[in-house]
Subunit: 404 residues, 2 copies
Amino acid sequence: MLRANQDYLKLPGSYLFSTVARKQREFQAAHPEKSVIRLSIGDVTQPIAPAIIDALHRAVDEMGSAEGFHGYAPDLGYEFLRNTIAEQDYKARGCEVSADEVFVSDGAKGDCGNIQEIFEKDCRVAVCDPVYPVYVDTNVMAGRTGTYDEATGTWSDVIYMPCLEENDFAPRLPKEKPDLIYLCFPNNPTGATITKAQLQKWVDYANENGAVIIYDAAYESYISEADVPHSIYECAGARTCAIEIRSFSKNAGFTGLRLGFTVVPKELTVDGVALHGLWARRHGTKYNGAPYIVQRAGEAVYSPDGKEQLKKQVAYYMRNAEYIRTNLAEAGYTVSGGVNAPYIWLRTPDNMTSWDFFDRMLEQAGVVGTPGSGFGPSGEHYFRLTAFGTFENTQEAIKRIKEM
Amino acid sequence: MLRANQDYLKLPGSYLFSTVARKQREFQAAHPEKSVIRLSIGDVTQPIAPAIIDALHRAVDEMGSAEGFHGYAPDLGYEFLRNTIAEQDYKARGCEVSADEVFVSDGAKGDCGNIQEIFEKDCRVAVCDPVYPVYVDTNVMAGRTGTYDEATGTWSDVIYMPCLEENDFAPRLPKEKPDLIYLCFPNNPTGATITKAQLQKWVDYANENGAVIIYDAAYESYISEADVPHSIYECAGARTCAIEIRSFSKNAGFTGLRLGFTVVPKELTVDGVALHGLWARRHGTKYNGAPYIVQRAGEAVYSPDGKEQLKKQVAYYMRNAEYIRTNLAEAGYTVSGGVNAPYIWLRTPDNMTSWDFFDRMLEQAGVVGTPGSGFGPSGEHYFRLTAFGTFENTQEAIKRIKEM
């Protein structure tokens, strides 16, 4: 008899951000007169930069002409974009990554969710706790996580690596041996980073134990400190143990344009199988490339004008981050993050649960944030605010939180 | 120990169209002086229609302004597009499909590949033979197809439904009971269609046997005959047994823009589980929406100007189809398709294998087509040509084939 995917049915409740959005909708419906400020989902608010808009218009005109029309894109993405990425994101930083190791996609979320597919079902997954829910949920849907414990909000077969205040929110090497290690730095949700020396330890650990690191570097453009690595390939030996996922959403505001990429080094093998070929096969079979016009927009991100404009955009958001961080600290909150990342991680006052604090912020201040517990058990009693609002909204939100 | 997905490793050789492209590249490298005409992959060649280009420019301008900027799209797609689809593709044809049953995506290929994920691994899949390779390959990658028999090119656990000349290339109800039935009409690769009465039999069969039909209607805009259904929801009872997948690639030339959608009716359940919720969960967890500008382009497909311009575009390709069909028939080839579909299916002369004929066409005529055997064992001794070239190239290709 035909059955639905039984692993899908194991997923408890709905996706974190859908729940947050629903609560906001319900509040707004009940209080239509109140203005709600969202510092919750990591969506940007600044318009696409002029150099990218120009590139989009040019590419649109091409698509409307017989000579300039582009149909199906090459499986891995257009060379003009892959070459630029290899050159500017990697070679310029002394990292060895070639253009044909770059797989262009429609965004980091899809890649983060799909990458687990190239590994066998019995592999053991380790994640930071708290963690971006997509890493765990997609492994649940693949039947890799065992049974769910409602009391703790954890899965029996997932290795959780707590990221706690006492360790500056950096994970420690796990006691149990994982096969697949998801790392995200600068981190979502805590905004924490680790140094190159710390990351090197993870690379060494993975190589020694035959594990693969999925390194989500979606927030690298927010790094302001010198010893924080922009890519895992800055570490020696990463080419034999690490896959890196990047996004255009946060550095260039592409949340609504959709573009990202994944690097799979050719040396990276498990049990004698090159993962590059498997990921290429997935791309070729289940995907048909990012739109030509969006790939041209991606190229413009690396142009001199594009870079200058985007530096200002990142600075705009980081001014928000600093504003939130310093003002909430002054007001007595325990805050971290916001220095190399657009996320501020704050401890809830009076040991409130994350969701209680969410409700209080929404009801008393009309501000939407994201409950830390939604990111994992060690996120309980924490709360995430993002720097992606306008400066005016950010100021207003902080004013309201202070008066709360 | 970490292992690669063992089901991925079962896939024999590389994706059909990649092999075709490689052979073309090698031929071109060896004979740089020869002009090669591609009537192989189903990629369009006409530029994007003016009404759509205008919509793209407008949407790009919006993205560059503070008021018009759009970040993450709603999970299911923008309402302006979903409403238009429900209204014009369905309600206007008397089909009951509501906007919230439409899931907008970045294309039909991804949806065709991903849809199997919401079903349990033990379900039994039936496909037409020959068939669009994505249906089978994605089920291989999910571990659903058993073992591969090199001699016949078939999988032990897949139910093949031969589409043969004696039956006008329509499949017959299978003897073994399938759980999941993939149907594509107008068909890729044969260009064949079935009537509404024939499709009704499949719907009745699925409802009686608790099977689900995945109905790929990517080519519906090429239908020219009155009794050929444009949607499976024209059939009574389809809402309890059928998922429909649609594309903007063939009716509007979006192969390089990427847009499609899938309809999952709310009544459709398996073993008491509503598939609508599962597909929504997949969208929410592994996908982040089609670009805003492309969804606006999709909307323009349904505008009065867009429809008029696209009608001409479809007519342009169908003139090619008729040209290929009638000329090759005159030249003594056995041909079918090309009346309600942009594909012409021809019998190879002298009982040549499909790949031998491919090589001969490439070497003697400099024309690239697609070997029928690449679509399944019953495609052996057949060959697919597409009508998506320019009229000039199509004429030239046919001239060369005739002289071959």
